[in-house]
């Protein structure tokens, strides 16, 4: 990749935040340089995914496409949280990649699964993951990798810009707007609306994040309040006060239901269009 300062590789999009965290787009990074930095460190990247109830049907495509595109050449530990470990599909994993299953209960409400994820991830980091990996990404399962999604995403604390709200003004972001909730965000606050389907970073940082979100979720529950987008609301609150050190552009989380925009040179990971009634318990 040719190094150029003027004009920049990408002049059509924001490539650094107002607190100087890079925003990762195609054309801003050189994979050879990135791999030259990270591969010799021989890091292991933990990757959590929840496949509860009917969502287990997404796991095969998720894993197969991940093997093709996600952190290729790096050591990956997949941690599959599921109520049906016996239904985890057999997928051939490349060298240096392994899979662990962690049992969770089946829930009657899909919102429950979403609310409990922070707690399960935090526990798993404490009990197992921190001994086995240095970075972690927490991903949704109903997604498919279509293109390279690599080590350029690694950082201390990483968030992704939500594909549905990148053009909205902050007062129309779907933050939690009731002051009674700990996820409350005022109309004049907020940088970007981040997607709950992808977040990650150093183990310590994600441990702090999941711990705080879990705490807030519990306190809210004690007051009988459920934030409008469950953990995603709490995540967004957290990222205002603990700014991510790296943002992933919408290339790293798109949606099959969205028409591609010119600024999106490549779609790397996409949420699958689904019949919600068919897959959700409620």
């Amino acid at each position: 990749m040719k190094l150029q300062l003027m004009p920049p590789g990408r002049g059509d999009v924001l490539t650094v935040t107002s607190w100087l965290a890079p925003i990762v787009w195609e054309g801003t990074f050189d994979s050879a340089v990135i791999d030259g930095i990270y591969k010799p460190l021989n890091v292991t990247i933990a990757t959590t995914v929840f496949a509860v109830g009917k969502y287990i049907t997404y796991l095969k495509d998720f894993l197969e496409s991940a093997e093709k595109h996600y952190m290729v050449g790096y050591n990956i530990n997949y941690y599959i949280f599921t109520d049906q470990p016996e239904n985890i599909p057999a997928v051939t994993l490349a060298a240096g990649r392994s899979l662990w299953s962690l049992r969770v209960p089946a829930f009657n409400r899909w919102q429950e699964i979403s609310l409990q994820r922070m707690s399960f991830i935090r526990k798993a980091i404490e009990e197992q993951i921190r001994k086995e990996a240095s970075f972690i990404f927490c991903l949704d399962v109903d997604m498919r990798f279509d293109n390279h999604w690599g080590a350029e995403a690694l950082g201390n604390l990483v968030a992704v810009i939500h594909p549905w709200f990148y053009q909205a003004s902050r007062d129309s972001f779907p933050y939690e707007r009731r002051p009674e909730s700990l996820a409350y965000v005022h109309a004049d606050e907020g940088d970007f609306y981040y997607g709950g389907a992808v977040f990650g970073g150093l183990i310590d940082e994600v441990y702090k994040l999941t711990g705080t979100c879990e705490e807030h979720l519990v306190i809210d529950k004690g007051k009988d309040i459920e934030a409008v987008w469950q953990e995603e609301s709490h995540l967004n609150w957290y990222f205002i006060y603990n700014k991510p050190t790296k943002l992933l552009s919408m290339e790293y989380l798109w949606s099959d239901e969205k028409v591609k925009i010119t600024e999106l040179k490549v779609v790397r990971l996409s949420t699958i269009k689904k019949n919600l009634a068919a897959v959700r318990p409620n």
């Binding site: 003027m6 924001l14 107002s18 100087l20 950082g155 700014k243």
Partner: protein
């Protein structure tokens, strides 16, 4: 026969011992070689230590846009380190994140021989523009401590004067800086400061230089080369030097007048460059731009986590270009014959 059979274990031990000796000496030799001689391709490192971008309360500032930023310059390097230009960051956010962390920023400056004349303007303008509101500890290296001017400091800002020998050659002063910085970090700075900047003295501040410049390992684009391609960078091009960079390598040309970062990181820079300068000296090689050549070599293999644009290191004699929206720190015009001890 019994005599011979008792020799077998002994022979086994001896042979194993010899093999072990060869193995150990080989590995220690190669690791010693790699540590002291930065010739063959060492691994590229990029260390980003956890630094919390934490806000403790609500702060009002304008919402950023995903699709609009500065379109005239690159604001990230190919390894995704930010390049700091005016209008790429929000000073309100930065002040808020950093001001409550009670940080101390060490600032080294060398004023040897006639260069002491630049000290007054440097300090006076630093007090106005450099890390305003932060604790700053200036370390002034000079062969003429009595001539260090009295400049009024704001609260939280102090100076320490360290006497160093003068030299008949300015190139030598430049080369010895790394050794002094290394030693002073080991003996004082590591216990006194969180971040450090090593700045040239023949320069003045003209605009704010704040916490947007802080990072794990910080380098600055040299104002004379940011518009050029790597083949024209004045890297050291003789392969006999430890600062050697071949024509098809290199990211940017960084200025030796500004080095920054966490104290531990800059210590590594100073130590490595010093060792390489000494190795070159033992072979009677002086790199094209002395320590700046060695610094550029270091930053090629240990990529900065943040790069400052030429706003942070300009030259008074250079006309401002359209990409440069402000000049924060600039080298004054000087008569070399007057200030240097030699040509």
């Amino acid at each position: 026969m019994r005599f011979f059979s008792s020799l077998y274990p002994l022979a086994f031990i001896m042979v194993s011992g010899v093999i072990a000796l060869f193995y150990v000496s080989h590995t220690t030799l190669t690791s010693w070689f790699r540590r002291d001689v930065c010739f063959s391709q060492p691994s590229i490192t990029f260390v980003e230590l956890p630094s919390e971008m934490h806000m403790s309360e609500r702060v009002q500032y304008k919402q950023p846009s995903v699709l609009h930023g500065r379109s005239d310059v690159a604001s990230v390097t190919p390894w995704l380190a930010p390049i700091v230009w005016k209008d790429t960051y929000d000073p309100v956010v930065f002040d808020h994140i950093y001001k409550n962390r009670n940080l101390t920023i060490a600032t080294t400056v060398f004023a040897v021989g006639k260069y002491i004349l630049f000290m007054h303007d440097f300090l006076e303008t630093a007090e106005k523009y450099f890390m305003v509101g932060f604790n700053v500890h200036y370390y002034i290296f000079t062969d003429n401590p009595k001539a260090v001017p009295e400049v009024k400091f704001s609260p939280g800002r102090v100076k320490t004067i360290i006497e160093v020998p003068g030299s008949k050659r300015w190139q030598e002063i430049s080369s010895r800086r790394m050794e002094m910085i290394q030693k002073t970090i080991e003996e004082h700075i590591k216990d006194e400061a969180d971040y450090i900047f090593c700045l040239d003295v023949d320069t003045k501040f003209y605009d704010y230089w704040g916490p947007e410049s802080l990072g794990t390992l910080v380098a600055c684009l040299h104002p004379g080369y940011y518009e050029q391609q790597r083949e024209s960078f004045p890297y050291e091009r003789r392969s006999a030097s430890t600062a050697y960079i071949p024509n098809n390598e290199g990211d940017y040309y960084y200025g030796g007048a500004v080095i920054g970062g966490l104290v531990g990181e800059v210590h590594k820079v100073a130590k490595t460059c010093r060792e390489n300068l000494e190795l070159d000296a033992s072979k009677s090689i002086e790199a094209a731009w002395q320590e700046e050549s060695h610094l550029n070599r270091y930053f090629l293999y240990n990529k900065p986590t943040k790069v400052l644009s030429p706003e942070y290191l300009w030259q008074d004699f250079k006309a401002k270009t359209k990409e440069i929206r402000t000049i924060r720190f600039s080298q004054v015009i000087k008569n070399y014959a007057e200030v240097r001890p030699n040509q």
